[in-house]
């Protein structure tokens, strides 16, 4: 038998992959640089490490969901990302989809908990 923790960890990673994108997009109404996002997301319970976040931001930019601009006025030049109009549309659609999915999943899993636990009907 595979280890419960290990299997759970693997499946969780798969689940998280998509939610991180949505989480990042949700925070990008204002221009932000990568590292400022880390504590922002962490506060709300979405832990993401910088090594995942930075490539992701770049990918979202490449897909046209984010625009970017270098701010070189400060001592440390930083690349700021912000949702593009296209990214806004995609985010809105994703958010609605997520909410309805969330409701469906909730009702599915409530059903399971409400039923008999040994699986006999």
């Amino acid at each position: 038998m595979a280890d419960v923790n290990e299997t759970t960890h693997g499946l969780l990673q798969e689940l998280r992959r998509g939610t991180i994108i949505l989480g990042v997009l949700s925070q990008m109404a204002e221009p932000r640089y990568g590292y400022s996002l880390v504590p922002l997301l962490e506060e709300k319970g979405i832990a993401v490490d910088a090594g995942t976040l930075y490539p992701l931001l770049r990918r979202l930019e490449k897909q046209g969901l984010l625009n970017s601009e270098w701010d070189t006025n400060e001592a440390r030049p930083r690349k700021y990302y912000v949702r593009s109009p296209f990214g806004q549309q995609v985010y809105d659609a994703l958010r609605d989809e997520w909410r309805s999915m969330n409701r469906s999943m909730e009702s599915l899993m409530n059903e399971d908990e409400g039923g008999s636990n040994d699986g006999a009907h």
Partner: protein
């Protein structure tokens, strides 16, 4: 901070050149931000740098995340076929070289040491040749497939959305290409290649008993070797064709056309090689005399002479017939109607 620079270099050197400068600057900013947090918490510079780089993880993994899509020399789609072609070709080469070694040993047993060294060298050389060419061929296939952006096994279909009607029919048994047929084709090609490249003088009449041991070869090795580039080209085409058969595993009209084109190319090459008699061993009859098989002026000599002339003049015709038979077989296999598949009544 030398460690930081080394880390950034280790990441960016794995990235496409165009993105390097931008990612480098961004990554440096990130690391400085992360360091700052740790320094404020009272860590020393060394501790902080070590912790931050550990947090970011192995440079290779980080670069891979930046890289996006994975690129292959030979992708998972083609790799199993690549491996089996490699194995088959290697085996065929080894067999051909062993046979060649054995023939040379029979004709000149005294040279065993020299022959054995030569055998080892040609095994090594052959292995490299096979590996190089098969890999190059498959790398090209992979490149073509990746460029097209869809796996090779899928049929054509262009940009149209997929519909169930696109599903290929279950191949009827008679239209199946047997795996061993395609494998035999590859082995034959490799044998042909090895013989042409290494030892055409192994094809001939053997004299293994008596005082003199030796072979009277049919062909003039130097003439055949002048055709080697074309022979190699043809062999690669043929191996490519058989690989395609291993992939498709069923006769389609496209595959039949490829097959016939390669046949035509082979026939063209043979015609070119045989057009003047230079490819035949001009001293064949003298050789027979030398080994005492016939004596000049005898009836035996006359009949040997006429047989030799008949064979050399009709050899091309013989090849044409073989290719024709193969062509008709393929046409039949590819175009005959598939037998009705037994169906359960719904």
């Amino acid at each position: 901070m030398e460690l930081i620079s080394r880390y950034i270099y280790a990441v960016t050197r794995r990235l496409p050149e165009k993105q390097r400068a931008d990612i480098e600057q961004e990554l440096r900013g990130l690391i400085e931000d992360m360091l700052e947090v740790r320094l404020e918490q009272g860590e020393t510079k060394e501790e902080a740098a070590d912790a931050v780089l550990r947090e970011l993880g192995e440079p290779r993994a980080l670069a891979a995340r930046y890289g996006g899509g994975t690129r292959y020399l030979i992708g998972p789609e083609l790799f199993p076929i690549y491996l089996s072609i490699l194995r088959i070709s290697a085996a065929a080469t080894a067999i051909a070289l062993s046979v060649s070694f054995f023939i040379r040993f029979l004709t000149s047993p005294a040279l065993i040491d020299e022959l054995f060294a030569d055998f080892g060298m040609s095994l090594l050389g052959g292995a490299f040749q096979i590996f190089t060419w098969v890999t190059l061929t498959f790398a090209f296939l992979e490149y073509a497939v990746a460029k097209e952006g869809k796996p090779l096994r899928q049929g054509k279909g262009g940009k149209k959305p997929w519909s169930p009607a696109d599903l290929p029919p279950v191949p009827a048994e008679r239209k199946d290409i047997k795996r061993c047929d395609a494998v035999a084709g590859i082995i034959f090609t490799v044998l042909f290649l090895v013989v042409c490249t290494v030892q055409t003088d192994a094809l001939g009449i053997y004299f293994l008993s008596g005082e003199q041991r030796g072979i009277v070869p049919f062909f003039e090795q130097s003439v055949i070797q002048s055709f080697l580039p074309l022979i190699w080209l043809l062999a690669l085409l043929a191996i490519g064709r058989d690989s395609l058969k291993l992939i498709k595993r069923t006769w389609t009209w496209q595959l039949a056309v490829v097959h016939l084109l390669v046949n035509a190319a082979a026939l063209g090459l043979f015609a070119l090689m045989l057009q003047d008699g230079a490819v035949w061993n001009a001293h064949f009859l003298e050789g027979l005399v030398q080994y005492g098989m016939v004596t000049p002026g005898s009836d035996g000599y006359a009949s040997a002479e006429s047989t030799w002339q008949l064979v050399t003049s009709r050899f091309f015709l013989f090849l044409v017939i073989i290719v024709l038979v193969d062509t008709i077989t393929v046409l039949y296999k590819a175009w005959r109607p598939a037998p009705p598949v037994k169906q359960r009544q719904a």
